[in-house]
């Protein structure tokens, strides 16, 4: 996700529009090669070319989408269907069936024309403004007469008249400030039109996502149930069997050997305690009682208190979350704190929980060694899976040397 809080500034856009001249050229090359490749699909070489070209085009489009999102301050989502593990011919056929691939091609053509044109307007106006602004100096440092010119309503013949170009420069600069950004946002809107998913594509992507997250949720649930069954079977159940045996034996020897019966009773009590302890830890894993008692606020504070390091907690919730979200959020925060303890070597961590009216935000921050990789850690993947069931997401920034910030977001309403 790009940072939508700030629009690129006027001068940042100078860099961008210069970039667009090059990206337009790269795009033209990609388009030409893609057309050749499409023609060559019947021969294997076309397939090979497309396997490379389509991802490159998509990369370029993604870059543009990020820029346009920031200019329009509206996230343009990715329109592509997920290719999964398709390869070779299958993959190319899949690309062909995805309308977004064709729209990308159209975009390449449009961005070559519109992109270069808008960039030219943007850069050209600024260049003219600068040119006029420095006109007197140009006149001064060049051999006399080189920059003599007729501007229509005034003519430059001397150093003093050369200064007359400066207000003109200011006027052009004014024009550039006035319309420059608008031109660039036209460009962004054209990008948006071609690069955002069509309604049916958006629905397709959504359905695909829902199917995946549902399958994940069901799998996770089933695995959880299996784990609980196993824990009960090996733990509490076994202890209670042992307890029953001790009691049975005690009953038998009660009359003949009271001393032995007493020992057996002590044993039975120990078994009962152990069974309780196991049930307790099992319950904690299913749904922590403190979460039921106090909601996410209290439960996160309890987590902080139970952690082996110092955890600063800041919770700002004006109501209670839906129970399933609450539980997922709790386990995700717990997981991030475990990660901090395990990997970060940080002396302390900070947890923030807040709700902005539409989504719940969870943030865990530490100043440890950094270098966490979202794609590698099973913990982080577990978090992503847990949250995806609620359309939530997790992002991690963790440069080497820290700090590490895990940011989680779940759309939901407070009650």
């Amino acid at each position: 996700m790009s940072d939508l809080s700030r629009r690129p500034g006027r001068f940042a856009l100078v860099g961008w529009s210069t970039g667009f001249v090059f990206s337009g050229a790269v795009g033209a090359l990609l388009m030409a090669l893609s057309i050749v490749a499409i023609v060559l699909v019947p021969v294997v070489v076309g397939v090979l070319m497309l396997v490379v070209l389509v991802p490159m085009t998509r990369g370029l489009a993604r870059w543009q989408r990020g820029w346009a999102s920031r200019v329009l301050r509206h996230q343009i989502s990715s329109p592509y269907l997920v290719a999964g593990d398709r390869r070779g011919k299958d993959l190319v056929r899949f690309y062909g069936s995805d309308i977004a691939s064709w729209r990308d091609l159209a975009w390449l053509a449009v961005s070559l024309v519109v992109g270069v044109l808008t960039s030219a307007i943007y850069l050209g106006l600024l260049a003219v403004a600068v040119f006029f602004a420095i006109y007197p100096w140009l006149w001064a440092i060049t051999p006399p007469g080189t920059f003599n010119a007729d501007f229509g309503f005034f003519t430059v013949r001397s150093q003093s008249t050369a200064f007359l170009a400066m207000p003109l420069g200011a006027a052009v600069f004014g024009l550039w400030s006035l319309i420059g950004r608008r031109v660039m946002s036209y460009r962004a809107r054209i990008d948006q039109a071609l690069l955002s998913p069509t309604e049916s594509a958006a629905l397709k992507v959504r359905v695909q996502h829902l199917a995946e997250s549902r399958a994940d949720a069901v799998d996770t649930q089933a695995a959880e149930l299996r784990r609980i069954e196993r824990d009960l079977h090996d733990g509490a159940q076994a202890r209670i069997v042992a307890l029953g045996m001790s009691l049975g034996m005690a009953e038998e020897v009660l009359a003949s050997d009271p001393e032995a019966a007493r020992d057996l009773l002590v044993e039975a009590r120990t078994s009962a305690s152990a069974a309780m302890a196991e049930l307790r830890s099992l319950v904690r894993g299913i749904h922590p009682p403190v979460l039921a008692d106090r909601g996410l606020d209290g439960a996160v504070r309890a987590l902080a208190l139970a952690s082996t390091m110092l955890v600063k907690v800041e919770v700002n919730l004006s109501g209670r979350l839906p129970a399933p979200v609450e539980s997922a959020a709790y386990f995700c925060v717990a997981e991030t704190l475990t990660n901090v303890v395990k990997h970060s070597r940080a002396p302390s961590a900070e947890v923030k929980v807040y709700h902005d009216g539409a989504s719940l935000f969870l943030e865990t921050r530490d100043v440890g060694v950094g270098g966490a990789d979202q794609t590698k850690g099973t913990g982080l993947r577990g978090i992503a899976r847990r949250l995806s069931a609620f359309d939530g997401s997790v992002s991690v920034t963790s440069p080497i040397g820290g700090p590490t910030v895990v940011h989680m977001e779940v759309p939901c309403v407070l009650s």
Partner: protein, 216 residues
């Protein structure tokens, strides 16, 4: 000694009444929900209250909240809270008013009758009785933070046992040292935690509190 008891499961309530009365306690009232607990506590002002955390009508931490509420109205009212699970957060809240006379034990500790009765008596006398599991959870914390960082490992051990509510003699027998040695450790703990000016009972509570809540 007069006891008010709050436990919603009839089976356990009857069991606890039997157990307490067999040990020379008088159960003046046994209630099964939060609001009547608060009324009973204020009406009877018992020597000690034995309270289950989870009570109707909310079936959350009603018992705990009512106990804390009662202690704001009757400062220092001795309360022993029982629960199926222990949560350091709750221990911290119970000890929050720094007055002592507080216990927080796992429910299954009741099965060890002698030590349970001992805990009730200790709480009634203004001491503390914290479950070893709470202490254990706290023990795993890094003690890098002030003021506990200045304590030696041995002093931490003594403080942990003190937090459970053990007397110097009990701590001594547990650590296989003389009672005098324990006395030395405790006074060193009090000095390091800056608790010299308080009475011994109150100091023990405050030391435990420092231990349970190092962020304070």
């Amino acid at each position: 000694m007069r006891v008010v008891l709050a436990e919603d499961l009839a089976l356990l309530r009857e069991g606890l009444i039997r157990l307490l009365e067999a040990n020379e306690f008088v159960v003046v009232e046994a209630v099964d929900n939060g609001p009547s607990l608060l009324q009973a506590l204020i009406r009877h002002r018992p020597d000690v209250a034995v309270v289950d955390v989870r009570l109707p009508p909310t079936f959350t931490d009603e018992g705990l909240r009512m106990a804390i509420e009662a202690r704001t109205q009757i400062p220092g009212l001795p309360v022993l809270v029982l629960s199926q699970y222990v949560e350091p957060l709750y221990a911290q809240e119970l000890l929050g008013d720094r007055r002592g006379g507080v216990g927080y034990l796992l429910k299954d500790r009741v099965s060890n009758v002698a030590s349970f009765i001992d805990a009730v008596r200790r709480v009634a006398a203004g001491g503390t009785a914290m479950d070893a599991e709470v202490i254990g959870a706290m023990l795993s914390r890094r003690t890098a933070d002030e003021p506990l960082a200045s304590l030696t490992p041995r002093e931490i051990e003594v403080l942990a046992l003190m937090a459970e509510g053990r007397s110097n003699a009990a701590v001594a027998s547990r650590l296989f040292v003389t009672e005098k040695a324990v006395g030395k450790h405790t006074s060193s703990i009090f000095t390091k935690l800056g608790l010299e000016q308080h009475t011994d009972d109150n100091r023990r509570v405050l030391a435990v509190l420092a231990y349970l809540n190092p962020n304070n």
